[in-house]
Symmetry: D3
């Protein structure tokens, strides 16, 4: 039951960088409004926008042993993604693990549980999106799995999927759809730029998007 999958397909660094540039909200819309993790997943410090290839971890509640196993599987540009097998707020991860992960090329952590050493992680520039901040320690007694499909904060994530994260939260893009989502996201960014100018000049969305007839048809009354 406890396995470490060593072969993980990875999306090209260019596509990953493009998705990071687009950001969570745009990527989420570009892929048809799917892929968002639950809104309780918050960054430990603000202002970061990253993307990375997921190395997934399924871990027991209160047991962070598998993080050590997962770190060996990291390659440059990967992101660790951990889901406990039942809800848990313990601090699975702190500055020592971050030091180790960074040394192996890891660009961040997504964890549906707790994280600690916030001050050190912030100073190191190692971003984390978590459900909780907690110094509560963990044990190393029970196995889990690495690079198997997991459900993290309500989203299915497989090893090699692209994770995009910023102040808006966390979004997953399926490995097979990454290139096409990037194309759609870039197109969307371009369109938004034009709309932003018209809206900034005082033009209304009601007119730009021609909403008035549909609103009237649905029965909206002005009184």
């Amino acid at each position: 039951m406890a396995v470490v999958v060593q072969e993980v397909p990875r999306v090209s660094a260019e596509v990953i960088a493009g998705l990071a540039n687009a950001g969570v909200a745009t990527v989420h819309e570009a892929q048809g409004r799917k892929g968002m993790l639950a809104s309780y997943m918050r960054p430990i410090y603000s202002g970061v926008r990253i993307a990375g290839s997921a190395v997934t971890i399924s871990a027991p509640p209160g047991d962070n042993w598998m993080l050590h196993v997962a770190i060996e599987q990291l390659t440059q540009g990967d992101l660790l993604v951990l889901a406990p097998t039942s809800p848990c707020d313990n601090g699975y991860f702190g500055d020592l693990l971050a030091t180790s992960a960074m040394a192996r090329g890891c660009c961040g952590l997504i964890i549906d549980a707790g994280v600690r050493d916030i001050r050190d992680l912030t100073a190191m520039g190692f971003p984390v999106w978590s459900k909780a901040i907690s110094a509560q320690g963990t044990v190393k007694e029970t196995l889990g799995s690495v690079n198997v499909p997991i459900v993290c904060a309500g989203a299915l994530i497989e090893a090699g999927d692209v994770i995009v994260a910023d102040d808006d939260g966390v979004c997953v893009v399926k490995h097979a759809e990454a290139a096409e989502v990037l194309a759609a996201a870039d197109k969307r960014l371009a369109l938004e730029e034009a709309k932003r100018k018209r809206l900034a000049s005082g033009e209304l969305g009601l007119d730009i998007y021609a909403m008035r007839p549909k609103l009237a048809e649905k029965g909206l009354k002005y009184v």
Copy 2:
């Protein structure tokens, strides 16, 4: 059922500015400890203290259509206030809507739901107090109403009520009571200044407020 009320009474800009200056905690006390929205309403960035005249929005869960309708109703110094008809964390509002709202004179958003594009909103200086931060997109399919009375985060808010918001949360002042609340708030600010000096010098609240006899009468024992 779906209506847009176009005539909204507004409190004078001077009164609104005075209430902003007093801040949430003082205004709340000055009006008899009422008007607070639920404590889960948090600013997307800290350090802002504003007040504005409420343009209210009642919207279905996951549907942000009425925001476009409401933006047309804004005048300089207004604040958008949105309550979903049932609990929802979706990101109803982002940088494009903020661009449009700012172009119409809007000074902020109070939303008992989610908001997105946090990085852009912060850069634009458009403050939002929300229940959640979420990039989860919304649809434009179902009508709601604008400038009708709503219950937002546990407080009744009518169009034209004054909303005061800062790092302490959000407070509503009824339109008809705004001037008198401001007077009470200003008086309170003056009184607090004197108390602050006495407390800073080491004098105790027990003595300043003459609490010792009442505490003894109620039966407090020093052991």
Copy 3:
């Protein structure tokens, strides 16, 4: 039932300073992974790491009278710790009480309820860890107790226990164990430094901690 205990044993300032220096996560581990308050206790601003001797307060919901009583019991380096007798988010504490507490030597507040005047407290440099931020006012009608044992955010705290608090949360160290916990914490800090260097160089926790045989014995499969 309502008492104020005036004699409180206090740990030496040196030990308290040492525990502050070690920080929450290290202290928590050093004392055998105990003493953490619930993870919902969050600082009102980040970047602070303090420790202090607990002056405890048991207060009714929505009633902050006992804070005035407790402030008289403060000595230099103390920390106020308040637990309501039933769950409550009200803003028990603001800038006036902070002014008074600071004047009596208080270095912070831990409160399993709400706090207000966040902007002022931040400007004053008075740190608070709380369950909520809320301007909702309180009354002064019902007695509570000061310096009795309380359960605050899930942890038993007695007057004179040492509270350590930073961005990771809040941890309590029993008065009688403080010196020995500090010794263990300092030892732990030294050990971590060595590990940090090895991990930073790319060495794996799997090897440093010799985990591979135990993982294999438990049945971990690499596929």
Copy 4:
């Protein structure tokens, strides 16, 4: 600030009985999908369907004094509705207050807080919909108001509004709309009967409501 409004308009007993018969879900739909209290309001025992005229109570957290005041204002067929001024789970109400309320004609309690003596209330047949069940006691120190407008579990309720409650939760009908809502509810009940028969025979909603063309137009694909 603390007032007891003694004159309350009441809807006729026939209309109230009709609304009780229709039940929460039907009444809510009949009035345009509004009026539901938050879904955390649950009955202390199941199988009851009632309606009554609201006697409203605004009470401080942890203080049940106003319940005694409100009971004097009850007339036959009234329902007590209590909202604390800030969130509170305390047990404001138990078998003694229920005995008193029943003696004055009260048919139930809606409380956005806690209730206790569940076993006795169940034996007495006094139904309660509450946010919590808790034996935690309250004090009698601070005034509130009776028969003023309150926000209870997210819904605005005024004295004399009709409250409908059953296993589906609690719904409020505005006093002025009660008769017309009853008419709409009865019409809806009749229509549902016909639909129920067709559906029970295996006919599909897709056909009864002619949904297939609209689904196809929106782009639904069968694969």
Copy 5:
């Protein structure tokens, strides 16, 4: 994006009946402690133990249109499983939809949202496990999908997976593993019977499972 998958593999009725007989806790253990939906999924009435083949529904928040579409896809012994695309407590399902679903052979509903008409559903004997009970109505405006993989209450569910549900909650068994899980569950049931007798006679788990040496080795002290 909005699709209805019409071909669904189904496990044999015998295997499904066997899994229902074993119940949630045993099935969950038999498949290696996986497959549990979140513990907030509770039955609307107690005492039921069922299993069925999943017909999955991905629906927008507050929009129950896809339930009508899904009902056409039901065959005898199926269970409807609905996950909203973002958190929602609305009452998506009531007695009319239950009538229709039962007429098509459906044995129950698992819904990570709200349900209503509890009294009628109970009388009809149509079991539901839900996140909430709410009469709050929904619209029929936006498409979703049927029989696609969904994440429901934290568990990945694909059409044709077996759902087991009883008073302990809800568990999913992958279609491909159902037969082997049943075999393991039956074996477990037999073993438990023997253990139950020994425990009932007063023999201790410490002795039956030979735990004493391992406890001593780990360092447990009796004082």
Copy 6:
């Protein structure tokens, strides 16, 4: 760190029976409104009122090993009380452990975590008050302690304290105070009987408790 305390002081069976007879709400009031566990602790089935001597368990999250150890420490009339060292909803306890505990004289379980096999426990008549119902399994890897002081659902509980539990929740009575609390509870029961009769006859609490003058003095206005 991991200890089993074997000597536990126990209150006499008569006192325990008396406290059970008084019930949670009365006992809680009789001891000065203290001792309630958090209101999320709910019985798995209703209608039970018990009291017992606490055998306490501190257990790691997701690890139920210590339950086996604790069962050996039970004597007739004891109650198991388990608190995890960090929040956890896992199902620590089911019908096999209940069989074993009953065989050793145990009358129930209080657990600030999850429980499973609800159907069996109900059939066996083994009452449980828990934070959650969950079939999610646990491991047996990490030690905890038995009969040490624990904080369970916000209340400090020591081995030998008396636990009273019914449909209103769970209350702890300190070992040393049990006899005096029983006396106060019995007195309270007698007094309530008289009040109940007066209230049932329509007399008002306002008059029985002579509240009118104090209400007037505080400023209550009848309008």
